[in-house]
Symmetry: C2
Subunit: 165 residues, 2 copies
């Protein structure tokens, strides 16, 4: 690969995100399966559906740019999912595991927040207004998903994992 200009880097980064989202779609069901808290499960299930739509939106962006989304593997997301997979292998109290799941999924969310922030900035500078609008919508969804998990952690899961209540 030879990255000659910002447009080339833009496509490179979009392919990275496309791979990352698809890896999340593959991995999330086995994470959801191990979650116990009902509100946490619902939030993760909702995020799974949202991720599926985001993949569709990314495909729409690629079509608009006349580019092919496949052909790249996001190694960052591979590492993050390897780490969450290791967590799930632990023998853990179920409330503690819920807290650990939130910690792991928030790392995935933050990867996406950084990545979508980057490509949205590129889209703006490159004058790709249609892509920009869609990318900013996804960025907001990712930030909201992260905030929802923080809320669930603070009000429900972490407190139960203390084993005081």
């Amino acid at each position: 690969m030879h990255l000659e200009d910002l447009h080339g880097l833009f496509i490179h980064e979009l392919k990275d995100i496309y791979s990352a989202e698809n890896q999340i779609l593959d991995a999330l069901p086995s994470v959801i399966e191990r979650a116990t808290d009902r509100r946490l499960r619902r939030a993760l299930e909702a995020h799974f559906e949202e991720t599926r739509n985001q993949v569709g939106t990314l495909e729409e962006i690629f079509r608009g740019l006349g580019e092919d989304p496949v052909g790249q593997t996001c190694m960052g997301m591979q590492g993050l999912l390897r780490e969450s997979g290791r967590l799930l292998q632990n023998e853990a109290d179920e409330d503690v595991l819920d807290a650990g799941i939130i910690a792991a999924v928030q790392r995935l969310e933050h990867y996406e927040i950084a990545a979508y922030g980057t490509v949205a900035t590129y889209a703006k500078i490159l004058g790709r207004d249609e892509a920009l609008t869609l990318l900013l919508e996804i960025l907001d969804e990712e930030k909201q998903a992260d905030q929802d998990l923080t809320e669930i952690a603070k009000t429900r899961v972490n407190v139960r994992a203390l084993h005081l209540v």
Copy 2:
């Protein structure tokens, strides 16, 4: 490993971050070497020094908790650094490479923002006030480092990578 309560998860997550920060210390010099923009280089060099201090602060937190920081490898950071290593192997225009470096380092920053946010929440719930104060200080530094890179990207690097100026 058996995670029985939130304190166990707190230590587990702190060790993860300790490994992540040390991996960044190992990897950052070769990233800095490839950066061209002067303000970007200065920001990365400053972040390297800040990371070194953060490792010291984490060791202080571990001492306060009577725990050993070593013995865990952060697989998430391994993946993120593998990805940035791949970027550096590309033949790229130097302005485009600068933009790519910012994108990669912001992913590391966001890993840390998620991770410190998590352990700060645990420290608060567990009543570990001394650790909480130090962790919130580091969290602020990570957020600031991320914002600084966004500023450099928007005002200098991305615009140059367009090859219009």
